[in-house]
C-alpha cells in the first residue's frame, strides 16, 4: 500500500548510491522534480535507465551522478543533441559513463518482461544491425516454426519513479495522455515512487486514464508542476521554449554548471572536484 510522504522522504527512502533507477516518461510526464530531489540528496554511481533520456538525464549525467546509462534515444526531441550526454560519452566529462543501448521496441519489451516477472521477451529486431553486437540481446529460435527471433532481457530497476496527474489518499494513481511505459516501469521495479500534480478525494476514471493501484506503489508524493519543463496533460503545458534554450545552456560546461549551481543541483553530485 502506497505511503503518502514528501518528495524528499520518498527519494530518501528508496534511492541509494549505486542503484539502478528508471525515471520514466515518454516525452510526457517526465519526473523532473523527483530527479532534481535525487541530485539534491547527492545520490551517485547510479545506473540510469530510460527509453528517452531527455533533458533530465542530460542534467543528471552532466553533474556526474551516473556511472551507466541504459537507453534507446538520447536526443533533445525536435531540437538536437543532449550535449551533456555527448560530452560524457565523447570526452568523459565530468566522468566517463558506460552505455547500454537498445531500440525503443527492445526497451519497451524489456519493461514488459520486467512487469511480467519473466526473464526475457521475444521480438523481431536487432538482427542485421550493428546494435546486436554492441548490446545485451540473444538470438532465440521459435520452437514451432524455427524462425530466429531476438530475446531481450527483463529490466528490473531497483527503483522506478514516474509522474502522474493525480492520486487519492490511498495512493491510487491516475495518469492520462501519452502513457509511455510508466505502468510497466512501476510494476517491474523493486521499489517505486509516483509524484503527482495533486491529491484528490477520489479517482474518477477518465478517457485514456491509466490507473495504477496504490498497493503496487511504495510511495506517492505531491509535486505540483513536477514534470516541468515536460508537462502533465490537462494541467501543465510543455515548455517548448525551455527545450530550445537548453541547447545553448548545455553546450557550454561552465554555463551548464552555473545553471545547475543556481538551482542547488550541482553540489549534490559529489563531483565538484572531479569536474572543476
Amino acid at each position: 500500500m502506497a505511503e503518502l510522504v514528501t518528495l524528499r522522504e520518498a527519494i530518501a527512502q528508496t534511492v541509494h548510491d549505486g542503484d539502478s533507477v528508471a525515471l520514466e516518461g515518454f516525452t510526457h510526464l517526465i519526473p523532473f522534480a523527483a530527479g532534481h530531489e535525487l541530485l539534491r540528496q547527492g545520490r551517485r554511481e547510479l545506473e540510469l535507465i530510460r527509453m528517452t533520456p531527455d533533458l533530465l538525464y542530460d542534467q543528471m549525467i552532466g553533474v556526474g551522478s551516473a556511472r551507466r546509462l541504459v537507453f534507446s534515444y538520447g536526443g533533445n526531441p525536435g531540437v538536437g543533441s543532449l550535449h551533456r550526454f555527448r560530452d560524457a560519452v565523447e570526452n568523459g566529462w565530468p566522468r566517463a559513463i558506460e552505455v547500454e543501448e537498445h531500440s525503443h521496441a527492445g526497451m519497451a519489451n524489456r519493461y514488459v518482461a520486467g512487469a511480467s516477472k519473466l526473464p526475457f521477451m521475444v521480438m523481431r529486431g536487432y538482427t542485421g544491425t550493428d546494435l546486436a553486437a554492441h548490446t545485451n540481446v540473444r538470438p532465440i529460435a521459435c520452437p514451432f516454426t524455427g524462425e530466429e527471433l531476438t530475446a531481450v532481457p527483463a529490466l528490473r530497476p531497483d527503483v522506478s519513479i514516474v509522474h502522474a496527474q493525480e492520486a487519492d489518499h490511498e495512493g491510487n494513481v491516475q495518469l492520462w495522455g501519452i502513457p509511455g511505459v510508466q505502468k510497466e516501469a512501476v510494476l517491474a521495479a523493486s521499489r517505486s515512487v509516483v509524484t503527482v500534480e495533486r491529491i484528490v478525494e477520489r479517482i474518477v476514471p477518465r478517457a485514456g486514464g491509466v490507473v495504477i493501484p496504490g498497493w503496487v506503489i511504495d510511495f506517492v508524493a505531491e509535486a505540483p508542476g513536477g514534470s516541468q519543463p515536460s508537462y502533465a496533460l490537462g494541467i501543465t503545458q510543455r515548455d517548448n521554449d525551455f527545450y530550445r534554450e537548453w541547447d545553448a545552456i548545455s553546450r557550454d560546461r561552465d554555463r551548464f554548471r552555473a545553471w545547475m549551481e543556481e538551482r542547488g543541483l550541482w553540489s549534490g553530485a559529489g563531483l565538484t572536484e572531479v569536474a572543476s
Partner: protein, 237 residues
C-alpha cells in the same frame, strides 16, 4: 520558377517537404517523427490526403495536430488522436505487425543500400560524434510496408559505408533529399529524379559514392501554388 502559371520562389527544403508529402497520396497511414517528416505528413493531410492516419511513436494513432509539433509527445497529439496506446503496444501491435503502411525516417548517414546510421560518427567505443541512437527506427523500418527516408544531400550523409548500421534499408522505396530523389534499383540507391534547377552532376557531387543515375532521370514537379501556400501557412502557425 513557374508553378500553375505563377512565379514562386521556394527553397530546396520546401521542395523536399513538398515532394515527401506527395509520396503520401493514396496511402492509408504514415509513421512520422518530428521535424521535416512531420511537416510533410501534415502537409499531405492538408493538400492531398485528408484521411491520412498519422502515427507517432509516442503512442498517438490518428493524431490531427494543427501546428507542426516540436516533440513527438506534444499534448496536441494525444488530445486529437483516435487512440493513444502505451509504447509496448505501439511497437508490438501496430509497428511490428505492419499495421502502419508508410514510415518517414531521417538519419545522419545513409549508405547505397539505404541502411541508416543514427548511432555514432566514428568508432562506437570512442565516437567522434555521439548521435541520439536507434529510437524506434530499426523496428519501424522492418515493420512498415514502405520506408521513405528524408535527408539532406551531402557527402557527410550519403556515405559508402556507415560508421554504424542502426537500421536496415531493405524496405526503403524512396530517399528524398533537397536535391532530388533516390530509389533502390537492383538493391542500390539510384538517382531517379532531380528537383527543378538541380543538375545530375550536383547530385553526384554531393553523394559520397559513385552515384548511379537512372536512364531517364525525371525532374520533380515544382511546387504548386496550393502546395506552397499550404506549407507556408502550416509552418507559420
Amino acid at each position: 520558377m513557374t508553378a500553375n502559371g505563377e512565379t514562386a520562389e521556394y527553397s530546396g527544403g520546401e521542395l523536399q517537404t513538398i515532394v515527401a508529402a506527395r509520396t503520401l497520396i493514396g496511402k492509408r497511414s504514415c509513421f512520422i517523427g518530428v521535424g521535416r517528416p512531420s511537416t510533410a505528413a501534415l502537409l499531405a493531410r492538408m493538400v492531398h490526403n485528408p484521411k491520412l492516419v498519422l502515427v507517432y511513436e509516442s503512442g498517438t494513432i490518428g493524431a490531427k495536430p494543427y501546428r507542426v509539433p516540436l516533440s513527438i509527445g506534444d499534448g496536441e497529439l494525444a488530445e486529437t488522436a483516435d487512440l493513444v496506446v502505451s509504447v509496448p503496444e505501439m511497437f508490438n501491435y501496430w509497428i511490428g505487425p505492419g499495421q502502419v503502411q508508410v514510415a518517414f525516417l531521417g538519419a545522419a548517414q545513409v549508405d547505397p543500400q539505404a541502411n541508416l546510421n543514427s548511432t555514432v560518427i566514428g568508432d562506437y567505443r570512442h565516437p567522434k560524434t555521439r548521435l541520439p541512437g536507434a529510437g524506434g527506427a530499426p523496428e519501424i523500418a522492418t515493420g512498415c510496408e514502405e520506408v521513405v527516408v528524408i535527408a539532406p544531400h551531402s557527402t557527410r550523409t550519403f556515405v559508402p559505408r556507415l560508421d554504424f548500421k542502426t537500421t536496415r534499408g531493405e524496405r526503403t522505396t524512396t530517399v528524398i533529399t533537397d536535391l532530388g530523389v533516390l530509389t533502390p534499383i537492383e538493391g542500390e540507391l539510384t538517382l531517379t529524379a532531380i528537383h527543378p534547377g538541380v543538375t545530375v552532376e550536383q547530385a553526384r557531387e554531393h553523394t559520397g559514392w559513385d552515384l548511379r543515375v537512372a536512364d531517364n532521370v525525371q525532374v520533380s514537379a515544382a511546387p504548386t501554388a496550393e502546395e506552397l501556400t499550404a506549407l507556408r501557412e502550416l509552418v507559420s502557425r
